[in-house]
Amino acid sequence: MRAFTQHQGIVAPMDRSNVDTDMIIPKQFLKSIKRTGFGPNLFDELRYLDEGKPDQDCSNRPLNPDFVLNQQRYKSASVLLARTNFGCGSSREHAPWALDDYGFRVIIAPSFADIFYNNCFKNGLLPIVLEEEVVDKLFRETEETEGYQLTVDLETKTVITPSGESFSFEVDDFRRHCLLNGLDDIGVTLEDAETIRAYESSRRKTAPWLFNAGN
């Protein structure tokens, strides 16, 4: 996995709550058997005026001029500012894959849905929870200042604004450790293979029905 230590980038404001993963990447694009290539279809139904199809060249599709990511000033955004319960609904990891493929590295919101939040960390994408008032303030500053950038430091767990104001955020130690070092967490778990085997053989004795291969 790609490591994440520090990132500075343009902020795009996604001003709606309960953004679900169907909205982030609609179902027709889930038919791919790859992890990459979802960027052009990120927010497909909001971003384009027509219905998107898999494997389609998106460069000539009609864009929805009202959609935030279609505005010139947010074209190279890599930090997504969002509202409550971002990423709710389906567990599809295609959602963080699409955000990543588009070029986002950080998502900031007052709250995230559990599965989506978890999926981000597996893909070098950092979801940051900040207080609602702070997020409101960042929305205001982003909209007021073209080219508004934020700096995110995972080492110190801080978000720094252009004026030097700094907000700290929480992140689990294990997730932070894996992200900072770009660790493959399967490899980390397999360091405990002996412990897993011991648990398993004890369960085989006490609960043999869990190992029934069917009749």
């Binding site: 709606r16 709550s17 309960n18 679900d20 169907d22 909205m23 179902k27 027709q28 889930l30 038919k31 791919s32 058997i33 790859k34 992890r35 139904e45 219905e51 898999p54 494997d55 509202r83 319960n85 709710c88 609904g89 389906s90 567990s91 599809r92 990891e93 709250s111 849905a113 559990d114 599965i115 978890n118 999926n119 597996k122 893909n123 689990d172 130690d173 294990f174 997730r175 450790h177 493959d184 967490d185 399967i186 778990t189 397999l190 405990d192 293979a193 412990t195 897993i196 648990y199 398993e200 369960r203 609960a207 043999p208 029905w209 869990l210 190992f211 029934n212 291969a213 069917g214 009749n215």
Partner: protein, 472 residues
């Protein structure tokens, strides 16, 4: 010391290692696989040169992409080449790694969350995962079951463990008895309406109370299924006679002495009387009306006797804007009566409501009636080949067909429209599925979530109606 909740017990029984940093390794007894969220996981295994840790813990089936017609053609019946590749990839991966798969032509094929319980592959007390958020369904059996992403599918394949942090405990207690025509679906929609789509975020929800105890396993599965729509990855119900009765005699269920030993353990899978929950929510079961969602989030739901809300009456500006946006998308007016919403299609199916009891409830309503003239389509999609066969033994297929509903083959179908079954732009659908998100059932489609009985009532009248008026 206070007693343990059901979730505490399941957590402790599956804890392989508690790490110093607060994370833990949880052992996974069963993984269910389908074609959409597994190909990248298998590819990951191959690239890293890894093998599945315990092959027999996995069961696979294609469900999201499968057509619900022409199934005698097998994989050749899948017209869309991209869908077909995904199903073929699942077959290839399962063959290569030796994983049991109910392939497209197998009668045991079906929606993963229907076939697990049907096969007894879902047993009380198990930890179960699947790359699908509706895995919470299996919590109805007193299981620790949750949806995971594809990276975690690969992690479980490779290690039989999941890295987790313990969640908080929430009890949703539904008191009293449910009225006639009020089902598990109405209960869970009412719960989501009350606590909101983020109300359960960070919690494992246990559903309890007299109304839940009185439900069949099908009803309990419907409720646990939609825990995720309340924000909770995990939903569950304690084990009782209803659970044990359901599990008995299924292909993967234990027998003889092992059965007795298992039952003895399963009887312990309930919350202790003196256990303490972090949060408790109570509902009066007798007050729950048949529910209909009007908006683009499952929390946007009301009783069938109510009206579409008026955004002017909402004080919170973000919520108000959400209502305005939803009404625009849904093509509805503020204060419009729910029973005045006209429908284009009706869908009875999905992992929420495609089991035999659901089909029986729908058939009871349409029996002797006809699909309303203005409707473009009303379809019934059983959850598995075995559900379909059972329904046909009971003559339910004839009831549906005589009433003018289409009787299809099993799969996820129009719940998420990854196959050919979908809504057209602007069409209103009474759907027994679980999500009414924008575009979920087709580009520009408008979904109203209801119970099978309510969907059936809508099919024969062409608009929403309190199903109890037809049952009397």
């Amino acid at each position: 010391m206070a007693g343990k909740t059901l979730y505490d017990k399941l957590w402790d029984d599956h804890l392989v290692k508690q790490r110093d940093d607060g994370s833990a390794l949880i052992y996974i007894d069963r993984q269910l696989l389908h074609e959409v969220t597994s190909p990248q996981a298998f590819e990951g295994l191959r690239l890293a040169g890894r093998k599945p840790w315990r092959v027999d813990a996995n069961i696979a089936t294609p469900d999201h992409n499968v057509p619900t017609t022409d199934r005698d053609k097998g994989i050749d019946g899948i017209v869309d080449p991209v869908s077909r590749t995904q199903v073929e990839t699942l077959d290839k991966n399962c063959d290569e790694f030796g994983i049991l798969e109910f392939k497209i032509k197998d009668q045991r094929q079906g929606i993963v969350h229907v076939i697990g319980p049907e096969q007894g592959a879902t047993l009380p007390g198990m930890s179960i995962v699947c790359g699908d958020s509706h895995t919470s369904t299996h919590g109805a059996f007193g299981c620790l079951a949750h949806g995971i992403g594809t990276s975690e599918v690969e992690h479980v394949l490779a290690t039989q463990c999941l890295v987790q942090k313990k969640m908080k405990n929430m009890l949703v207690r539904v008191n009293g008895t449910l009225g006639t025509g009020v089902t598990g679906k109405d209960v869970v929609l009412a719960i989501i309406g009350k606590i909101g789509t983020a109300g359960g975020t960070g919690y494992a929800i246990e559903f309890g109370g007299e109304a839940i105890r009185g439900l069949s396993m099908e009803g309990r599965m419907t409720i646990c299924n939609m825990s995720i729509e309340a924000g909770a990855r995990v939903g569950m119900v304690g084990v009782d006679d209803t659970t044990i009765e359901y599990v008995k005699g299924r292909p993967f269920s234990p027998e003889g002495e092992t059965w007795d030993k298992a039952v003895e353990y399963w009887r312990t899978l309930h919350t202790d009387d003196d256990a303490v929950f972090d949060k408790v929510v109570e509902l009066d079961g007798a007050a729950i009306q048949p529910q209909v969602s009007w908006g683009t989030s499952p929390e946007m739901v009301v009783g069938v006797d109510s009206a579409v809300p008026d955004p002017e009456k909402e004080a919170d500006p973000i919520k108000r804007e959400g209502i305005v946006r939803a009404l625009k998308y849904m093509g509805l007016q503020p204060n419009q009566k729910i029973t005045d919403i006209k429908l284009d299609r009706v869908f009875i199916g999905s992992c929420t409501n495609s089991r035999i009891e659901d089909l029986r409830e729908a058939a009871a309503v349409v029996k002797g009636r006809k699909v309303a003239a203005g409707l473009k389509q009303a379809m019934v999609v059983p959850g598995s080949g075995l559900v379909k066969a059972q329904a046909e033994r009971e003559g339910l297929d004839k009831v549906f067909i005589e009433a003018g509903l289409e009787w299809r083959d099993p799969g996820c179908s129009m719940c998420l429209a990854m196959n050919a079954d979908k809504l057209g732009q602007g069409e209103h659908c009474a759907s027994t599925s679980n999500r009414n998100f924008e575009g979920r059932q087709g580009f520009g489609g408008r979904t109203h979530l209801v119970s099978p009985a309510m969907a059936a009532a809508a099919a024969v009248t062409g608009h929403f109606i309190d199903v109890r008026e037809l049952l009397n």
